[in-house]
Subunit: 218 residues, 2 copies
DNA sequence: CATCCTGCCATAACAGCGCTATGCATGCTT
DNA sequence: AAGCATGCATAGCGCTGTTATGGCAGGATG
């Protein structure tokens, strides 16, 4: 069973994919504390050695899981159907981004946890799959700029700003920092944050549609 | 040496404070991997039992360290001298926030890591010290709104938006996700993000000063 | 003053963790 | 058919967080 794609029948995925899938499932269902090499080996019916022969260690396995997470995120973002309004498209991308994070919070945490281990300066910074997700935001931003809805600017720079705001909100929400006694409900914060960003980037602020509420940012 | 505040001379801080300080130092100097109960006990010259008699476990100790981190953050934010321009004050608060995070990245990560452990729904959401830092942003936001520089809105809601953007940028920067080949330099992203937020919240966009560059968001 | 009692800490141990060395079995190559 | 390379199971190492146990000090009580 070296490099053959099948074990018993003919439709069994390779061990690497099964490990990543089982790791993502353990992460999603029981949290990061349950993602151990022993439990993972038991899940796929092998020993802990497979983690080291196929990935080199637990950290590299987590990197592979993060790549899988970015692939799923890019797939979800790709499902957002473009409209004729690029600003609406950006809003829909933001909604899909948040929905994907809420659906798999632990996976999202792994995707963006870099300095948790310790020493490496930019260990998991080179995740090529992350670029596909980011490119979706850049493309929508470029359309918003080129159509004249957003002021002239570098689309990548604007997309990075949007990504920062998006990521910050999602992280705070996942961390449970939006306590009802202290903050507004997350849904409202998210909507108004998107409106604020759109207003700050718009060429003509009056073109930004205020969703439902009588006030834009309050 | 039960509850007496001194051991040998008369100016020794209590064990709890020494543990928190040593934990914060280990975290800052050698990363989270070095923060073990044994190393911590060796650092303060006792055994691992003190962690359990005084905190109940490592998780509660980390919560205490996070509280200390928020206290330091609030102290740094309190050092920001108010000017006659509340928008400038918000920018200075943002600069101080980022500087504090960059000066102690691992401590910042502990302050905002909630779902790292596993199961508790809102475990460390009740950190009263965090409110003091947040209140500084709320107060400056309220001044910006009441002075007419920002549009009328709920100051807490606006401050939560600013906090999200701030936190998101800082997290991405600390995680090393701003790779030079893919994004602009972090300094520039941060500045333009602040301008974008200010423009989106301003009553009169022309009142927002663009720092140095010929373009506001690009 | 003697005694008890309460709280704190050092020691030792336990289960579990990531990881590695070793040996065996398998499939490909020659 | 013999040799070789590869991948996995086993067993073990050092380390982790945590707990049970025992001793020792200081304050309360007679």
């Amino acid at each position: 069973m070296t490099s053959r794609p099948a074990d018993s029948p003919g439709h069994e995925p390779p061990i690497r994919a099964r490990l990543i899938e089982a790791a993502a499932r353990l992460l999603a269902e029981q949290g990061p504390g349950a993602l151990t090499t022993r439990r993972l080996a038991a899940e796929v019916g092998t020993s802990t050695m497979v983690v080291y022969t196929h990935f080199g260690g637990k950290q590299q396995l987590l990197t592979a899981v993060a790549r899988e997470g970015f692939t799923r995120l890019a797939a979800h973002l790709a499902e957002v159907a473009p409209t004729d309004d690029p600003v609406i498209d950006l809003g829909n991308l933001a909604l899909a981004y948040r929905a994907n994070a809420l659906a798999n919070p632990h996976l999202y945490a792994v995707m963006f946890s870099a300095l948790t281990g310790g020493r490496e300066p930019s260990a998991n910074a080179e995740i090529p799959e992350a670029r596909r997700s980011f490119d979706a935001i850049v493309a929508a931003t470029r359309r918003a700029i080129e159509s004249g809805r957003f002021r002239p600017a570098d689309p990548t720079l604007v997309a990075t700003q949007l990504w920062s705001a998006l990521h910050g909100f999602v992280m705070l929400e996942l961390a449970g920092r939006f306590v009802p006694s202290m903050h507004a409900d997350p849904e409202h914060v998210f909507t108004t944050l998107l409106v604020t960003m759109a207003l700050g980037l718009a060429e003509d602020p009056t073109s930004i549609t205020r969703p439902s509420g009588p006030e834009g940012s309050g």
